[in-house]
Each structure stands twice: as C-alpha cells, then as structure tokens.
C-alpha cells in the first residue's frame, strides 16, 4: 500500500473515493426513481457493491485507453468520466442523454471519453473489444482495451471465440471478469465446470493474472496496473475480480434478497468501507476532506436529476435518425 500512495497522490485517492461514493449514490437514486416510475423500461442493472472493481481497474488506464462493458454499465461509465447529467438523462429517456434517449440503462456510451458502451447481449461486446484492440495494434497507437465481463458471460461462445482471437493476434486487451457469484440467479459453481474463472486463460495460452479481491480498490488497482502494462507491451491478459452485487440481477429480481448471510458477509467488506478505512490509516488527518464528499455527491445527483427532468424527450426525427449514416 505504501508503494501505491507513491503512485497515487492524496488528492487522487480522495477523488477515487469520491467517485465510488458517487456511483453508489447514483445507483441508489436510480433504484428510487425506477420504483417511482420516473425511470422507465424493464431493465435496470445496478452496480452497488462492485464499485471498487470498476473504479480500481479504470484508474489504471490512460485517458486514451478504451473501456467496454456489458449492461451493468452505470458505474463503469461514471468511472470512465462520462457526464453524470447526461447519464441520468439517458435513464429518463431524454434527448440530452448520452445515447440520445435511444439506448437506456443498458446502452450508455460516451465516445468522447472512450467509453464504448454497455452491451446487452451476454458476451456480445467481447469481440467488439477485440476489434477495438485490433485498431490499436494496427495503428500501433499504444492504447489498450479494458473489457469488463460478467461471470455469466464466460460460458457462451463469444467468450471463447473473442479470448482465443485476442491470443492468436496478441491484442492489447485486459479481459476483466467481474465475478459477482451469480449469472442472473445461477451460482457460478452450477454453471461453470471450472469455477475459478481466471484459469480459463490457460486454454488460450494467455497471461493469467489470477483472482483479486474486487471489494478492495487498492487490490484491484495494483493488479490492474500490472495487467495494463502487460497488455500494452505484450498481449492479452485475464483477471478475475471477486465482487458482489447488493441488488438483484436487475431491480425487479427479488430472489437475491434471500441471500441474507452472504450479503452481510460482503457488506462487511463493502468497497466504500474498506476504502474509507484505508484512507484513514494512510492519512490520519483526512476527516475534514471525507466529510465534504457526501454533500458534494448529493449535490451532483440532485443536479443530474434536475437536468434529466427538465430535458426534452426525443422527437419523431430522432426516432428515424442514425439508423444509417
């Protein structure tokens, strides 16, 4: 940890924690607004509990590096630097949303920060990640692709085909499995012959960065830094972060609420609590700075909701625009 404080300054660590709190409160607000039917649609997949994984891994990137993920994408988009007002507007289906109100919760993208989107066909974004990485290799621009993968996506053909292709082409991709223990409602052990998912790397002759505690920002950041360096210079890597989602698969899922003990175990190791504790250990005089975070985040969320509510809905022209170039 002492080494990490050398690479990340106090201000940067505060910023990281701020971002994790922002994601948590953003998700809580989304749930509230969904239940109040202000956010529509069928799907809302929340990132609560997984903040350390997304923020830790993205912190290891350069701004020009690429990020792509599946449909549990709110936290990833925030961590990559997408505008929170426009993210909330997308939840509301407004014209000012990052995807013009056409993508919704599962399809948040912001090309300006190289957040290539959330994708809602399980595994479907993996070959896209390989293709984006091919562009980097083809142009030799030194950028890498960080591709988040749900544990549930490790068992369809996309996973196999995309990881294998990245290996035979030596593509600069960090494949990061966010193992939150369940693919919808099915435990990993029930769906995977080899539940230690990082071991899949062996099958592709790919560098295996093992398992990391996805509830701990510092742990994720450290392994991600090494993985990014490896991907940038050598080729694709696989990491498995063990994490936990506090909500169901989607907000409509209620089965997860029966997992009381398991939930409590993970909540005791909540990413925000773990991070806050370490910040206090590192900087005994940090209390005043920590105290400013929640009010600042609350103001950001309030402003985002106001922006979303006051934004116009898409028009009939928007309906037919951007089908083709």
């Amino acid at each position: 940890m002492s080494e990490l404080t050398k690479t990340l300054t106090r201000a940067e660590l505060i910023e990281v924690y701020h971002q994790m709190v922002l994601i948590r409160r953003f998700e809580e607000k989304c749930k509230e607004l969904y239940n109040a039917r202000k956010i529509g649609g069928v799907y809302l997949h929340l990132y609560n509990g997984q903040e350390a994984t997304g923020v830790g891994a993205i912190k290891a990137l350069k701004p020009t590096d690429h990020v792509i993920t599946a449909y549990r994408d709110h936290g990833i988009a925030i961590a990559k630097g997408a505008d929170v007002n426009r993210l909330m507007a997308e939840m509301f289906g407004k014209r000012t949303g990052v995807s013009g109100g056409k993508g919704g919760s599962m399809h948040l993208a912001d090309a300006s920060v190289r957040m290539w989107g959330g994708y809602a066909i399980v595994g479907g974004h993996l070959p896209l990640a390989a293709g984006i990485a091919l562009k980097s290799k083809y142009s030799d621009d030194g950028d890498v692709v960080l591709c988040f993968i749900g544990d549930g996506a490790t068992n369809n053909g996309y996973f196999h085909e995309a990881l294998n292709l990245s290996a035979v082409w030596d593509l600069p991709v960090i494949w990061l499995i966010e193992n939150n223990l369940y693919g919808m409602g099915t435990p990993v052990e029930v769906s995977s012959g080899q539940p230690e998912l990082h071991k899949r790397a062996i099958a592709y002759g790919m560098k295996d960065f093992g398992r990391v505690d996805g509830m701990d920002f510092f742990a994720v950041y450290e392994v991600a830094q090494q993985a990014v360096e490896y991907a940038r210079t050598t080729g694709p890597v696989l990491i498995e972060a063990i994490t936990y989602r506090y909500e169901g698969h989607g907000v409509s899922d209620r089965i997860y609420m029966k997992r009381v003990e398991e939930m409590q175990t993970y909540q005791q190791r909540d990413p925000l609590i773990v991070m806050e504790k370490k910040l206090r250990e590192l900087f005994p005089d940090i209390e005043p700075e920590l105290a400013q975070i929640e009010p600042a985040v609350a103001a950001t969320i309030q402003e985002a909701v106001r922006f979303a509510e006051e934004s116009p809905v898409p028009t009939a022209e928007d309906l037919t625009r951007n089908v083709y170039a």
Binding site: S99, G117, H125, Y158, R321
Partner: protein, 326 residues
C-alpha cells in the same frame, strides 16, 4: 474507359485490391484469406502484396470474425471480413444484427460501423441441406444493415467498392456459381456503383421481371426465350436488397402492369413476398394481373442431383410464370 473480360472472382479481387491500395484503413480478415488465398480465391496474392498485418487469417470463429470487424470498424478501420459461406453466417447473426446494425442507432450516432462482411451464397451443387442456403432476405429484414448481391462481374466490382467506401455496415453476398463467369469490367479504380441503385438488365414492355443474384441469369434466359414468342420482358436486377430500389421497380411496373419476381431463395416470407406487397400497396391502380413468384421449393435441399434440381428455379420456370399472367 478501358475494360477487361474477367470472371466475377477477379472483379471482386480487383475491387478489394484497389481499395486496399487506396485506403490504408482497409484490411481483410477471415478464414483462409491469407496463406490459402481465400476459399474462392478472391484474395489470391494478397498476403504477399499486403502482408500479414492487413491480410489476417482467423480461427473458425464466426461470432468473433463478425464481432471483431464491428469493433475494428467502430474504432476507425474499414474491415472487409470474409465468412466462407453464408451458411456459416448464421453463427454470426447476433454480431451482425445486434451490433453491426445497431451500434450507430443505439448510441445515437456516436459510433459507426463501416465494415463489409463478404460471404459466398447459393446452391445447386449437391452441397446438401446445411450448405445450400440463400438467406439474403432474412438479413435484409433488419434496419441498420445494407445487403448487396451482384449478378455480373462489373456490378461485383462497382458494388463492392461502394460497400467498402460506405460508412454503413454491409453484408455482401457472392453467388458461388457466378464466381467463374466472365464479363466486361472497367479498369477504372474509381468505378463505383451507388448503393441502393438497381439496374435494368434488359429493357422490355410487356412484363417486369424483378430479381437479384443468380436469378438475373435465369430471368435473362427466360426473356430471350419469350422474345422469340413475341413477349417483351423488362429484367430488373435490384442489386441491393437493402436499400431496395423501389422507384425503379415502380416505374417499370407502370409501363408493363405485370410482374414476376425471381429468386434463388425460399418462398416463405421472402424477397418475392416483399416486392409483391410493395406493388399491391403502392401500384394497385396499375396492376393488370397477379404478381407471380418464382423461387426455390419450400424444402431443405437434398443430396441426390435429380431431386435437388427439381427444387431449384430455372429459366423454364420463369417462362411458365410469365405466360400465366400475360
């Protein structure tokens, strides 16, 4: 303009090669495109000329071939991916339909996917049930994707170049039986035929025959036979199933008031169904006879040549259909 008499596979090769020379972002990827020089030899000599960076052999991974092409296109390259035959493109269906065709719309114009997926199509060579599909209409069902299928070497060159230069994703199918057939092809490296523009392959006044791909050949043969009996057929090759050149079809129909649709594909929910529906919806006042459809029979394709050919459309079936409505 100088022209050469070359087979369709050479016309396609010329188009690809010229575009790779013209634009460094254009590259080819797919099964056997490199050392093997393409299953249909369209990329003959490419590995030597352009090197392994731009001529990329892939594993037999259709989902990843199509999906990686989408990603590379989104990121700024112009991939021309090859799937050996359209039969295997069913495995790439999700990447094509859910991603190639949707990324622009779903993210409201932040991304584009200027990629071409080439695939050989067609049947009639005892290839049997799983290797005999001509499923263009299925892929043409979805907005966001273009679909072209040339019937002549010149069209093949001009259409493929247009597809590569366009900012939209294109599924480009090439009829296997037409690869060796020759035709005059312009040498001009900027010979580009606009996407969505059909072509009158033979002018006539009594009946409009609408077709694409291999069906054009049967239609032209039929028109020749019918001409000897004093029946004048206008043969329209739409070239593109999407975007579809409806104005060209409508203009012809206003003149002939009769239409036969010819396709190699299956009859149910088909190309013919769409043309017939469009004509009855927009050209009802000009209609003097029912729209006839000539297609493959509604069966999977068998191995034995004798019964395989029974299921295949041909010029005689087109002649019979025309005579029913004249």
């Amino acid at each position: 303009m100088a022209e050469k008499n070359i087979p369709m596979r050479e016309a396609l090769r010329a188009a690809l090669r010229e575009e790779m020379i013209r634009d460094e972002r254009v590259f080819v990827m797919g099964q056997e495109v490199g050392a093997w020089e393409g299953t249909h030899k369209v990329t003959r000599g490419f590995l030597d000329e352009f090197g392994a960076r731009r001529v990329r052999d892939t594993p037999i991974s259709e989902m990843a071939i199509a999906g990686a092409a989408v990603g590379a296109a989104m990121a700024g390259l112009r991939p021309v991916a090859e799937i050996m035959t359209i039969n295997f493109a069913f495995l790439a269906f999700d990447a094509l339909i859910n991603h190639a065709a949707k990324v622009r719309y779903m993210f409201d114009g932040q991304f584009k996917a200027p990629m071409v997926l080439r695939a050989a199509t067609g049947w009639g060579n005892q290839a049997t049930a799983t290797h005999s599909h001509t499923p263009e209409p299925i892929f043409a069902h979805f907005p966001g994707l273009y679909l072209g299928c040339p019937s002549t070497p010149a069209d093949a060159k001009g259409m493929l170049k247009a597809a590569i230069r366009d900012d939209n994703p294109v599924l480009f199918t090439e009829v296997i039986a037409l690869y060796p057939k020759p035709g005059l092809v312009p040498d001009d490296p900027d010979f580009v035929l606009p996407i969505g523009k059909g072509d009158i392959k033979r002018a006539g006044k009594d009946v409009t025959i609408v077709s694409y791909g291999r069906g054009v050949e049967w239609s032209l043969d039929a028109a020749e036979m019918l001409a000897r009996e004093g029946i004048s057929c206008e043969v329209i090759d739409v070239r593109w199933l999407r975007p579809l050149d409806l104005p060209l079809i409508f203009e012809s129909f206003k003149k002939t008031n009769r239409c036969v649709v010819v396709e190699e594909s299956l009859p149910f929910y088909s190309f013919g169904s769409e043309i017939a529906a469009q004509l009855q919806e927009h050209m009802f006042d000009y209609m003097d006879a029912p729209i006839k459809r000539v297609s493959a029979m509604d069966v999977p394709l068998p191995y034995a040549k004798e019964i395989e050919l029974m299921a295949l459309p041909d010029a005689h079936k087109v002649v019979a259909a025309v005579k029913e409505i004249i």
